[in-house]
């Protein structure tokens, strides 16, 4: 058939001849594979029929359990549960990255192709490679200047310090009314090492004090959490796949200025007022900054804001009068109650995370049991292979036990993860406000906080130990067996 091609004059005819011949080859290949599979199945079935019923049922149970668990994998919730359990039990990154360089390069290429500013911004925020991250940020901002805030997030983990200062300065030029940026700049201007140096009483002429004063007097305070959340949510929605831990970890860690620096400035401002009027003015400035910080979404900002506002109101209580004093006393009393704001407004997400802790533990334990069951099935199959299909009660028991464990653990994992699936849908819904969405990401803290460097060691240590115990048991049985055989032979039976 192939040789004929050389004798076909017409090119189109030769092409048709070749295409049809290739079709024949492919058909034959498929038929051959199907024939082989059918023979293998028939062979396996004949082998199974010849086995003892208990062993046969054990093998069928293990196979059915594997198929059933694989069927669970078709659901995105189950896949997500396993991946979260695997990450949180081994190495949950402390940084907000969690996106590999290959995926980032793919995202950047897509952004380039579509001139998509948000995709560039996403790549910039998640890339730990400083230079590439800044290149992406530059592309994003050149397409859409309203994304300049991303430099603030990049500055949070940018190296070295002068790069960080440059990033904050970039955002400051774009958003000059944001007091947080001046406070961050003040931290960069404070002499090193600090906060030791900041702890010393300032005299007011220090550059960091003047910069901090501008931060306190600025009308706004924004750590761009809402903007970050909206971007993360939109990109995750566009890509059709959400990595919940990535979303949650994006809001982990300090996003605000140094609390030590802000408190030192507040003390300086309140303790160095020359007159009661000046003291009242300073107290109002500090209280106002505290209230602005409390309007942010992160708990750190809310806590710091509460402390600052309380400082300001406490000073104002003693020097104000009339209706203003009543208001100040009332507000100060509200802020003084321990955890008053936490229980009223903030703590619901943490309560939710605590309530979901049993589900998280079930998912993690289920994941471990699935791993162990698969290892047991693999071990049982290997033992059968080594013993050339001759089973034993131990292997039968192992196969039945692992099949039951696998099914139970898969069902438990799937059911226990259902609440997370429901909450993730709510987080991703455009109808959910960014504040609620950010707070809902706290549910993933039910799996434990990031940076658990020894969790991986414990997990793999436990699994290695389990395998060693199993190996020792198998070896011990094999070493005992010849002695027994010899004894039988010696009796002459």
């Amino acid at each position: 058939m192939i040789a004929e091609i050389d004798f076909i004059q017409d090119d189109a005819d030769a092409l048709r001849w070749t295409a049809s011949g290739l079709g024949l080859i492919v058909r034959e290949m498929v038929a051959s594979v199907l024939r082989t599979a059918r023979l293998a199945l028939a062979d396996s079935w004949n082998s199974l029929k010849q086995e003892a019923p208990a062993m046969r049922n054990g093998r069928l149970a293990a196979l059915s359990a594997l198929v059933l668990s694989a069927a669970f994998l078709l659901t995105s919730g189950f896949r997500q549960a396993l991946s979260i359990a695997a990450v949180t039990l081994t190495d949950r990154p402390a940084s907000c990255s969690g996106v590999g360089p290959v995926e980032l390069d793919r995202i950047r290429a897509a952004a380039q192709e579509r001139s998509d500013a948000k995709l560039f911004a996403f790549a910039a925020l998640h890339d730990s490679r400083n230079e590439i991250s800044h290149q992406s940020a530059g592309c994003a901002v050149s397409i859409d200047p309203s994304l300049t805030w991303i430099y603030y997030d990049i500055a949070l983990h940018a190296e070295p310090d002068n790069q960080r200062a440059e990033d904050v300065a970039t955002v400051l030029r774009w958003d000059p009314e944001n007091g947080l940026l001046y406070l961050v700049r003040a931290g960069q201007l404070a002499p090193q090492p600090w906060p030791v140096s900041v702890a010393a009483k300032p005299n007011g002429s220090e550059p960091w004090v003047q910069m901090a004063a501008r931060g306190v007097d600025s009308p706004r305070y924004n750590s761009y959490q809402r903007e970050r959340f909206e971007l993360e949510r939109q990109i995750a929605g566009d890509q059709g796949s959400v990595n919940p831990l990535r979303l949650a970890d994006a809001f982990t860690g300090a996003r605000t200025a140094s609390s030590v620096l802000v408190e030192r400035y507040a003390e300086y401002a309140l303790n160095n007022a020359a007159s009661p009027d000046e003291l009242a003015r300073q107290a109002r400035r500090i209280a106002a900054l505290g209230e602005r910080m409390m309007a942010c979404t992160s708990d750190v900002e809310k806590w710091e804001g509460q402390k600052l506002a309380l400082k300001g109101y406490t000073k104002l209580e003693s020097i104000s009068a009339g209706p203003e004093k009543e208001l100040i006393v009332s507000r100060a009393a509200q802020l003084q109650k321990p955890h008053s704001l936490m229980t009223a407004d903030w703590s619901w997400s943490w309560n939710l995370a605590n309530a979901l802790r049993p589900s998280a533990v079930t998912v993690q334990v289920g994941f471990l049991l699935i791993l162990i069951a698969i290892l047991m099935i693999a071990g049982g199959s290997a033992a059968l292979f080594i013993q050339r299909g001759r089973g034993s009660r131990t292997i039968t028991g192992l196969l039945w036990g692992s099949a039951g464990t696998l099914i139970a653990a898969s069902v438990a994992c799937y059911v226990a993860y259902q609440p997370y699936t429901a909450f993730l849908n709510q987080i991703m819904s455009p109808e959910t406000s960014s504040d609620t969405g950010i707070r809902l990401t706290h549910i993933y803290y039910s799996y434990g906080y990031p940076t658990t460097p020894f969790a991986g060691f414990y997990l793999w240590g436990a699994l290695t130990l389990l395998l060693l115990v199993a190996l020792t048991a198998v070896l011990a049985r094999r070493l005992r067996r010849p002695a027994g055989n010899d004894a039988r032979v010696s009796t002459g039976c």
Partner: protein, 99 residues
Amino acid sequence: MSRQTVLVLESLLAEPAAWIHGYDISRQTGLKSGTLYPILIRLAANSLLETRWEQPEPGRPPRHMYRLTPNGTRRARSLLAKAASRRPARFLKEEGCEA
């Protein structure tokens, strides 16, 4: 017997003693290589066809050639006669020749 096999046998019966290439059969019958060669292989396996390699021309690969065996010629004639008897009922309908 399939319609394609009938076409191949008809083509081979035109000159039963002559050796013929696969491509020539394809041109005469209009069958594609993917359809033709399984038929030729099946007929050869049933000893209805004999095959040989053509002496290669310089710079060209050798080609496979086919012709009916004496037994194949007899069987082909008989099969074609049977097929022809069914033709009014089946093939004419297929070819849209019904009145």
